[in-house]
């Protein structure tokens, strides 16, 4: 337990080292978040402060701030937008926990476990609407539009995932479309907003957007891998929720694709009627077939393509950190 805790802690330390060039700005974003989420009603304030701690690694604010710094200068608008994207992300986490019926996230009780589903639904809505309000305090509608589009795409992705749930024959294309919508789109939006509000031209803004999208793909593939491989103590989330919910993810799809019809049908049997024993067999099969390694390789390729999108940027600390971040996303084990 202490060992797995420490691998999680190691990951945090690694990230905070990586984010050193924007440490002051991330602190400013955290202050902004706490200030925005303060509420005179003690119940709402307690909920909002709890959600502030759920957010965790601040990956999305960091993407936004680093993209800004890679292009020009970080401004107060970036701080506002970084708070917005973190709030939106937290809203989706709070609602995900209702959907997953998860009890633990980042070693904290989830909102639905500590309070109830009703409170989780409303708190997620509260965070969403506050984020949109905050985006609307900027001078133009650019930020609102980017956030509105990206979050709508996130919801579409989650709905498509729900529709595909339990479908053993989910195609690789549809899996990739789903994770692009539910995860990569918001990462792309972060980089886009960072670059645009730092005065980046259309070309550089588009390339950073593509960087964020590819990094987001790598991130989600690894998240799905960790869900399969991970232990509760390592990832700080409830274990194996994807399998328990019959969610098809990349390793399972890759394994299925390499099987004969009769083998695939055996795999489907394990997938459809898993109990504790079956999921052990499934994991062993995924491991021994090389499907887990192949999925991590796919994530590494997305990360590599992300890094290539940075080639047009002048050299800077921020550019180096973005590249390191893409590598970290794949290498992490928590």
């Amino acid at each position: 337990m202490s060992q797995v805790r420490s691998s999680k802690a190691d990951a945090r330390i690694a990230l905070s080292r990586l984010f050193a060039p924007i440490a002051d700005d991330l602190a400013a974003v955290d202050r902004r978040l706490q200030q925005e989420l303060h509420n005179d009603d003690p119940f709402i304030d307690e909920l909002a402060q709890h959600s502030f701690r759920i957010g965790g690694k601040r990956l999305r604010p960091a993407l936004l701030l680093l993209s800004a710094q890679a292009v020009g200068r970080i401004t107060p608008e970036h701080h506002t937008l970084a708070a917005v994207v973190e709030m939106v992300h937290t809203a989706t986490l709070v609602h995900d926990d209702v959907l997953d019926e998860a009890d633990v996230r980042r070693h904290l009780d989830t909102v639905n476990a500590r309070w109830n589903n009703q409170t989780s639904v409303l708190l997620g809505d509260y965070l969403f609407t506050h984020a949109f309000y905050l985006a609307s305090t900027l001078d133009t509608t650019f930020g609102c539009r980017a956030i509105g589009e990206a979050t709508n795409t996130v919801c579409e992705g989650e709905l498509r995932q729900t529709a595909g749930s339990g479908n053993f024959w989910l195609s690789l294309d549809e899996y990739l479309r789903i994770i692009e919508a539910k995860t990569a789109e918001l990462c792309a939006c972060c980089c886009r907003l960072g670059a645009y509000y730092a005065g980046g031209d259309a070309m550089i803004t588009d390339r950073l957007t593509a960087f964020g999208r590819k990094l987001g793909m790598a991130f989600q593939i690894v998240d799905d891998l960790l869900d399969l491989e991970g232990e509760e103590q390592t990832t700080g989330k409830s274990l194996g929720t994807d399998l328990a919910q019959h969610k098809m993810t990349l390793p399972l799809i890759l394994l299925r694709e390499q099987l004969s019809a009769s083998e695939a049908s055996r795999l489907q049997g394990l997938y459809d009627e898993q109990d504790a024993g079956h999921s052990g067999l499934l994991l062993q099969w995924l491991d021994e077939s090389g499907a887990l390694a192949q999925a991590r390789q796919t994530a590494a390729e997305y990360a590599q393509h992300a890094i290539e999108e940075l080639s047009g940027l002048r050299d800077s600390d921020a550019k180096r950190v973005l590249a390191q971040l893409a590598r970290f996303v794949v290498a992490r084990n928590a």
Copy 2:
């Protein structure tokens, strides 16, 4: 059954007559909603089309359009914003049905009954985010800001209501604050947007905003009354959900206030441990004490104060309809 159905149908006919001066614009808003909610994914499209039918009486778009017409001219921006407020309202309905575990709304299955809670949460988020995106397509951030603020207040109101749930001693002030936030604020926002985008000056915009707020108070008080009095077939919703959920509403608060300590304690007993028999006793007590009538009187006073806010407007069909609408909101029985 056919009789109660017809009282619901009567209410619809009365409203559609009332809305005759803006019938073409309401039809344009409906077309806009259907167009916006179309999705290439058949599952999402089916959900979105279902939610389009849930919305129902189009009260909020009507408030927005009538406020515009009372001040000046209805523009394409008003159509967009009317679609936005209806979408936001529908999102809150979809999430309310998760919270209430309701099975029927407007004689249609609720989303959580036909699909599941997971789908309802995501569909609500999809509608919220689409609404915000749509608001951001206007030229300035005014609409985004007004919608962001109002919807955030709605969520605050719903959270405060959750916190107060089961509290027999909920104060009258807190009840009024809750319904102002969860219902009246969005009605106020509709009138504000209507007036502002028709070129209304600050004074006229503020007075129409106050009109919307007071009408919204009257509307919610009557909604709570109908929840107590109504029959499932009349209101088209699951019956007595407020009582079943130990939600204190105005009639109960008014009854409690007129009781001695020992009588109040007996009322609390009925409230805390209701079963079918107890809720019958409760309703009889509410009726015979005059608390139901007193609550309807309170709603009528809000409606009257709303109408007084219209005094600064030049005479017009729209002004007359707004006043009639305030009266209708109180007189309706469905």
